[in-house]
């Protein structure tokens, strides 16, 4: 059992962010969620904070996203950008926390790099928000082609990365 005195401050900060950010993103929704779901999300966030290498993190993020998409009326409001920022921050904190045990202090350069990356990753969110707000109802027909296009790009990238070299190339 690791003594709490040996915990590194950077890891503790990451884990606090992991416990807080998804819960905040979930609770700031203008619709009151059921208590059971609140407990589930908060508990899962805490579990993610304790064991950041477990796949419970993406489930928490997807749950928050799903709640905003399905239950919040008129969700396209400026506040959703803050929710996106909170989810991005949680994702980055989760990555950093999963790098090592709680006693492993995170390198300052590593943290700085991931903060920059997180901000860079966040850039598409305001862009997407501007597109959604700019097109109003007209954005619906664009979503299927967009989703298929992005999935195709992802599939292409994955396929290229995992392809085996042919015999002709190796011989």
């Amino acid at each position: 059992m690791t003594s709490w005195r040996s915990w590194s401050r950077s890891q503790v900060a990451c884990r606090i962010l992991l416990a807080v950010l998804p819960s905040v993103a979930f609770l700031v929704a203008p619709v009151q969620p059921p208590v059971l779901l609140v407990l589930l999300v908060v508990g899962a966030s805490c579990a993610w904070a304790v064991l950041p290498e477990l796949p419970v993190g993406p489930l928490v993020l997807l749950t928050v996203m799903g709640w905003w998409a399905l239950k919040v009326p008129d969700p396209v409001r400026p506040g959703v950008l803050l929710v996106a920022l909170a989810l991005t921050g949680a994702h980055v904190a989760g990555l950093l926390a999963a790098y090592g045990p709680v006693r492993a202090a995170l390198d300052r350069r590593l943290v700085t790099m991931w903060v920059r990356r997180g901000l860079l990753a966040y850039v598409p969110a305001p862009v997407a928000y501007a597109v959604v707000v700019g097109h109003g109802e007209g954005v619906q027909p664009l979503m299927w082609p967009l989703a298929v296009g992005v999935l195709a790009v992802l599939g292409l990238v994955v396929g290229m990365q995992f392809r085996e070299p042919s015999d002709a190339e190796t011989s």
């Binding site: 998409a69 090592g100 006693r103 202090a105 928000y129």
Partner: protein
């Protein structure tokens, strides 16, 4: 997650999912693009595997076979009496020179196992992870600290060849022994011309031979009393014993004496008499393997196999009968024995106070020990606490003086 968000947005017709999932697209794509094409090979290289307690070395991680490593996590197991920098023993840093070096500082003699650390590597944007992989352990040899020790006393009964101790035998030394008549075979430069002129007969100056001696160091490893705090903290009885044995061996080997060692405890290690730096290396190497006995100690007679002419240092807490009996037996046989008390100062607070059951038991044990030591002293066996420089000077001088007078020995 980005893909799931986009598909969900399309299926549910919810543009907000597009906004929320968009930040996960860039990391996902860049993470996939950074896929390593080969498995990395990991190796740990220690800067030095033989060092003294208090010295430091480095554990360098060598990663070869791939150039797509962005981040390295190293988690070292906590090893007793081995300090690490960083103190947590775990690092999570960007790949590079800093990531590959962790400082290790053994704080106590012995043979600690280090290097069985776990290493994990991640590619760019945390797309792929290799490990955690456990590396092969390596054993450090940590010699006892070279304690400051020196002695000006001579051995009581030197019986070797050429050495630094004045013998009772007449020989070719420098210490004046007497003047006698010239005899065939005497060197001319030994003739004392003033005395010869006065007596009108050739007289020669005789000197005492200078010989080496054999020294046996007996290390009592039947128990380790107290808690070792390493080189910076409090010393346990075995710490005192091992450091004192190392200092004594170093001193006598430097003076050219033949030194042997006997470890009374697990393994019953024996180092035969010898001299020179290589022999000293062997003795200190044996000391690093000393571990304390944990089983009960039977009251059997301990035969140290010492003959006359040797000096025996018994480094002991004098809490066990075999060691006490062996010291008494040797002393009765006329062998110069010096008992060096390595129990040290022990606080009763560690045992819960003076009137706690453990404290009372300890005080009773100390009373018994005190009576035993008095009996041993009455047999002519000196007992001195280890205090470093000059610990045994006075008792060795007393033994030298005692060696000049005839003795009745028990055979």
């Amino acid at each position: 997650m980005a893909a799931a968000g986009l598909v969900g947005a399309a299926l549910a017709g919810s543009p907000v999912l597009l906004v929320l999932a968009a930040p996960f697209l860039v990391p996902a794509l860049l993470g996939l693009l950074g896929r390593p094409t080969s498995d990395p090979r990991l190796a740990l290289e220690l800067g030095g595997i033989r060092l003294h307690e208090g010295q430091g070395t480095t554990a360098t991680l060598q990663v070869t076979g791939t150039d797509r490593v962005e981040q390295v996590t190293r988690v070292l197991p906590r090893v007793a009496h081995v300090a690490t920098r960083p103190a947590s023993g775990a690092v999570s840093v960007l790949a590079g020179a800093d990531a590959s070096v962790v400082a290790l500082g053994p704080r106590r003699w012995g043979r600690p196992t280090v290097g069985d650390e776990q290493v994990a590597l991640t590619s760019a944007w945390a797309g792929y992870r290799h490990g955690p992989v456990r590396l092969s352990p390596q054993v450090l040899t940590v010699w006892p600290q070279a304690a400051p020790y020196d002695s000006t006393a001579e051995a009581p009964q030197p019986d070797g060849l050429v050495g630094a101790h004045r013998s009772r035998r007449v020989g070719s030394g420098t210490e004046f022994a007497g003047i006698r008549s010239f005899a065939p075979g005497d060197r001319l430069r030994r003739i004392s011309w003033p005395v010869s002129l006065r007596t009108r007969e050739l007289q020669v100056v005789t000197t005492r031979a200078e010989q080496d001696t054999s020294v046996l160091i007996v290390v009592d490893a039947l128990r380790d009393i107290g808690i070792s705090g390493g080189i910076d903290g409090r010393a346990s009885s075995l710490d005192l014993t091992v450091r004192a044995a190392s200092a004594l061996a170093d001193h006598h080997v430097r003076r050219g004496d033949r030194v042997g060692m006997r470890v009374v405890g697990p393994g019953d290690a024996r180092v035969p008499f010898g001299s020179g730096p290589r022999h000293l290396h062997r003795i200190t190497g044996t000391l690093t393997r000393v571990v304390a006995e944990t089983a009960s100690v039977p009251d059997q007679t301990l035969e140290l196999g010492v003959t006359g002419g040797s000096v025996v240092y018994v480094l002991s807490t004098m809490l066990h009968a075999p060691i006490v009996n062996a010291a008494a037996l040797l002393s009765a046989r006329g062998v110069p024995v010096v008992v060096i008390d390595t129990l040290g100062e022990r606080s009763l607070d560690e045992l819960g106070g003076r009137v706690s059951p453990a404290g009372l038991a300890w005080r009773m044990r100390m009373l018994e020990r005190s009576a035993l030591l008095q009996q041993l002293a009455a047999l002519g066996c000196p007992i001195v606490p280890w205090r470093g420089r000059g610990t045994v000077d006075e008792v060795l001088r007393q033994q030298s003086r005692r060696g000049q007078v005839p003795q009745v020995r028990v055979r």
